[in-house]
Symmetry: C2
Subunit: 390 residues, 2 copies
DNA sequence: TAATAGAATCGAAGCGTTTCGATAATACGG
DNA sequence: CCGTATTATCGAAACGCTTCGATTCTATTA
């Protein structure tokens, strides 16, 4: 009786057997309401809480999910994966699961760098977030655990994944610019190696064509080395060199969009008056650029949630159908696109939700809507505030 | 024999008893070298790995450490706590421990928001990082688990903590400015509520006096509402209003330093020529300000490491002496202080290590030194790069 | 050489659950 | 009113490890 009470104490005090108490704990059926109540009362009275390791041992389930991130992803300034993790963690609580976060180098090297939770059978499923070495994916697959990727996907591996609705986002951008009167739209893609960038690019092309807008080869730059500010800057330069110029630029991510803006300013062009610019990702830096960046917001936390739910499905129902889940995106209108309000004269917030799932299969948990309150829109708070004292 | 091998399989194959194998696993003494070798061979051959929950159940230790963070701390753009967590996680691996990261609201509210790992006896110790509601600290204390605070401290609670060497850092700043020829040094502190800010302030005063430099009340502004950019801006304004002006400003954190610079620029003053500015914390934004900020770098990951080691000590040796551990800091010289090189004509890197522990008790793990390679110093890479495509 | 101490190994109990097959209690249809 | 199906509860084994006290073996000492 010293230390915390155990299930045995509960059983004794309730005048029932261990197994019955266990049935109540696990919310199994075939327990009379009366018994259930009695057990719950005793549990409350004693302050009993089942012990993790004992459960794990008996049930063959650890109650943990492994969350794998490359270290560079985790420590980058933009808290993108941090938010995804948070979404996963919050959702995991509902299932009474823990999330074991571990970081790895980009590619598998030494044996002792392998996430121990795999070796110790300490997780019931694994989530991998972000671009990671294929060797890792292959390695982890061998453990035959439920596995879900977030914000990454490898076509030839047949894995479930949660990705943002890149195609939908690109469509939103083109349509917004189009409705704002632009017909000559350029694209800055950096390099197309990253699956998300490629998708945005393809959808850009498709949407342009679908809207009857012509593509000018000189306005589409997808040959840079990377997808950073510098690459956007260089790509913009090339576009400015073309004889005819577009009136708007869709950059495949915010970093490159910032590079575009920088280049335009240096060239003495005014954004958005001489050239409109729209990005993708809604990173913080987009708020500090002048003019502030119109972009596509991604529901980061929701991505983490969706992945966790998917994993739980796989764990509980052995549901191993491969799914691609699209996380919703939305347009965030700021000043860099030069399009003040919606054509109908709508007010703030200038956000349009785009429901994905245009060709992929079922999209779980879409449109909770409430989250859009998080999104910074239009007006207010111009000051740059990187961090107060912690 | 299906599924993973267990300790039983190892014992059988090695022709030894369970207990002997267990002794080897736990690196206990009183095992002959021959036996040890044989066991290890079999383990290797079978690919055996002890199972977590079974261990936990038998040993009464979960093998987990709880890491508590308030949600705002975790998701802020500056990856300060993220890095601390990473340090903890990496160090935990050495002890074969897992770190369970959970976030909480600033103050305790609903019961079901309590970190489950406490209730489920799923951690052997707890680390709390950053400023957090006292109610949380009090609540967690009741579980009688080893507890360490990082980057926060509450004098009246007698708790072990790991904090950066605020006093040492402030001293470095004053000395650097002094050696650079400044004698009229102002201080911008925002408000002194935060323990770290208060320490920096006190140490600033002490060092000034120790160096025989006089303090001018008009140059010391510690009455703002917060410690953000805006507060630095306002404080700077007041200082500029004084009849006599200082030639250098020490802002108690980088955010306020940035505010100071902004104000100075707007007033038509040039930094560092008309006024030198130095900050504290080495946040990323300090690299993107013009001129780039001279500041005090804090070894974030090391703070996490130190805390984990301390916790492990407490777990293993029941060593419950209360300790305050100081994490080392170093001066990072960039352009905002206007002091090009060290007086001896030293070259890059412009970093001076300051060993803390000036009055606090033992400081664990100081001066590993290797980490200073992480620190951005002096030259190179001017471009602002918030985030490439992930 | 007998007595003793120490080192190496072993057996068995125990950790706190879940789960499966058995049993007891209740309801139902004919 | 009895046999059967269904529901509620129970007992005991099992999960994979640690640990403690007991046992065996070897070396040391008087």
């Amino acid at each position: 009786m010293n230390g915390r009470p155990t299930i045995k104490d509960v059983a004794r005090k309730a005048g029932l057997s261990l197994s019955t108490v266990s049935l109540v704990l696990n919310k199994r059926e075939n327990v009379s309401d009366e018994t259930r109540r009695k057990v719950l009362d005793v549990i409350n009275e004693l302050g009993y809480y089942p012990q993790r390791s004992a459960r794990g041992l008996a049930s063959k389930l650890s109650g943990n999910i492994g969350f794998v991130l490359t270290d560079d992803h985790f420590t980058q300034a933009e808290p993108f994966y941090t938010k995804i993790f948070l979404g996963t963690e919050l959702e995991a609580r509902k299932y009474n699961y823990y999330v074991l976060l571990t970081t790895v180098a980009r590619t598998v090297k030494e044996t002792d760098e392998i996430p121990r939770f795999l070796l110790e059978q300490n997780v019931d499923g694994v989530i991998i977030a972000g671009r990671i070495g294929l060797s890792w994916i292959e390695y982890i697959r061998r453990f035959k655990l439920p596995l879900v990727l977030i914000d990454y996907d490898v076509a030839r591996h047949n894995l479930s994944s949660v990705v943002m609705d890149n195609r939908g986002g690109a469509q939103l951008v083109v349509d917004h610019l189009h409705k704002g009167g632009h017909t000559k739209i350029g694209f800055v893609g950096g390099d197309l190696d990253h699956p998300s960038i490629a998708e945005r690019y393809l959808s850009f092309r498709e949407t342009m064509q679908a809207r009857g807008l012509s593509l000018n080869g000189a306005w589409v730059q997808v040959d840079e080395a990377d997808t950073r500010i510098r690459d956007g800057y260089e790509a913009m330069k090339k576009i400015l060199n073309s004889a005819d110029r577009p009136t708007a630029i869709f950059a495949a991510n915010d970093a490159m969009a910032i590079g575009c803006i920088r280049c335009l300013k240096e060239s003495g062009l005014r954004v958005p008056y001489d050239m409109a610019v729209v990005g993708f990702d809604n990173i913080e830096a987009g708020l500090y650029v002048e003019p502030r960046l119109t972009t596509i917001n991604v529901h980061r936390e929701e991505m983490g949630e969706l992945a966790l739910r998917r994993i739980m499905e796989m764990i509980n129902h052995q549901n191993n159908v491969v799914t691609k889940t699209l996380a919703p995106v939305e347009l965030v209108v700021r000043e860099s696109c030069g399009i003040k309000t919606q054509e109908h004269g709508h007010q703030i917030p200038h956000t349009f939700s785009k429901q994905g799932g245009n060709h992929e299969d079922l999209a779980h948990g879409f449109g909770t809507g409430s989250r859009s309150a998080d999104v910074s829109v239009g007006s207010g708070g111009t000051e740059h505030e990187p961090a107060s004292e912690r």
